[in-house]
Subunit: 126 residues, 6 copies
């Protein structure tokens, strides 16, 4: 696959996950680094998220869990909570994933993750 085909492929997946938020997230990454935006679209979405073997919902569950446990990536956690809700997770399912992280990464990780989730839920209810 050529690089531009990978970009198109990744962009389609990005739009499928983020819908109307896609433009905002892409503009935000473009502002930070156009090269990094390309790698995210081509590699993260074109190569990895297009792989068969897991549903998009399962991929977002995995990502929300990991970002909650790591605790160092709140803006990205917020984006992926949007993504999870966009590809079919209910709010309750997102809450369950984050709450479960109390077991593996401790209560502060779960509390901070749930706070991010509440903010996303509120933003989407407007």
């Amino acid at each position: 696959m050529s690089q531009s085909a990978r970009y198109e492929h990744g962009l389609a997946k990005f739009l499928e996950i983020y819908g109307e938020q896609a433009k905002r997230f892409l503009a935000s990454m473009e502002e930070v680094s156009p090269d990094l935006k390309c790698y995210v679209v081509e590699f993260a979405f074109g190569d990895v998220h297009c792989r068969p073997g897991l549903s998009l919902k399962e991929r977002e569950i995995a990502t929300v869990a990991a970002l909650t446990a790591m605790g160092t990536a709140v803006p990205q956690l917020r984006a992926h909570i949007h993504g999870a809700l966009n590809v079919g997770c209910s709010q309750q399912e997102v809450v369950e994933v984050i709450l479960q992280m109390a077991l593996y990464a401790g209560f502060p990780a779960a509390i901070n993750g749930l706070r991010a989730a509440r903010e996303v839920f509120l933003e989407r209810s407007k």
Copy 2:
């Protein structure tokens, strides 16, 4: 619910997830700390894993993702790869979850997680 009912409840969930490996994992935790074993059974399995709202398969996907991303809990990652396979994940699904962590926690986390997965797959094929 009384404390012993929580323990029974948690133990049943633990057995549902770990099957024949349950005895080995419980004995290993008992050896380390009987109190911690109780908290794991009562709280982690009796309270949290018994919650509705996510399938056991989704719960194990979340846990395998988080432990891979954290990179500090290889014995627990191995146990939860067993758990994921026991509750219905295919080997390919486990590989996909771990591989995706390259995006969020870096290639070393994914490589070390996949090495743990290969070892578990090998152990189960004997």
Copy 3:
């Protein structure tokens, strides 16, 4: 012990540690997730903080040290600095615990932890 006895037990310990701040901290967790608030009260305070074998002061020293070293839980670090001061640590003792983390988690962890401590000390002096 029944679940409501564990809650009462944990709530009493929570009030013993946080005094007049308890209401604020509980309301903040309630807002994020009523279930998580219950687990924190029942498990973290009812089960773990009620254990014999360490004084509350020693438990808060351990927690302030850990949260400083982790660096991913500033709101919880602030709460436990309040807790440490409430159960008998002096401001100097809190500073010593955090400063020592420079050795084990690096200077940035200690600097960020001490900044949180200064803010808590200031808030309490009003």
Copy 4:
């Protein structure tokens, strides 16, 4: 204070904490890097551990908590469990500190920390 006075000062504190294990730990650091060994003795023990304001027991409680929560420094956790026991912590107190970390850093951190503690207790009982 001159650099050699700091070294002497730190060495005395190191011997106070590690007793007969001191020679082994110093030789192990010397083998890895003589410069780093000097910094550990001068800065970590001569400057920081000689500070007033916390007892050695409280300093070791803080360190055992932090290293358990971080999960990336098992050899150092083992050394500081020895240190904690040498300066007056009981085995039960060490266990309580590590077990409490389940709340702040998750169950795997506590389980792996308690496993290290069991190994140290066994080594000392020989």
Copy 5:
């Protein structure tokens, strides 16, 4: 070397790296903890940054990489991006170091690091 000679030595190195920002950074650390400020100047700059064997530019590349990967020390990352630019790194070199961290610590670490870099670049262009 006496303690005051170490301080002078470290202060000279600190000024060499931070130039006109030095006063601001020292005042900020003084406010948080005068003792910690001393340790940073004496140990981090007087002892470690004065060591031969690496250029200051290489030392800042190493630090910017580490702080980006850790993701828990944004104020210190910002300070060291200033430092890197002050000792001869171009903005492009700083961007390359941070972007490369996507491979080892994941995309969120690189994105958050690049956002900090953009803010520093903007501040310096005023």
Copy 6:
């Protein structure tokens, strides 16, 4: 660029950095996951390490620093210490990078990193 051109490009860079160790490292990744091996070669080496703006020596300094600070990726740290030495770092330069991490990630990270370096130096001296 087509996907196979990216692979060829990345493989050439991989061979430039790892020389005679390249075959061993590629075989080890192939065994863990052929797909991940492809992503490492194409993305990490073909896309990122081929970027202009930093020398290979500076890229390896950044990577050794980050992996030392993270403390969760010892096999990868060992590989990149080999890489650093292969592209022109002296053993002393590698030691300086790792030792400096004591400031940002704590003494245990530096000690464990230096232990890995000693093992690599020994292996190469045979």
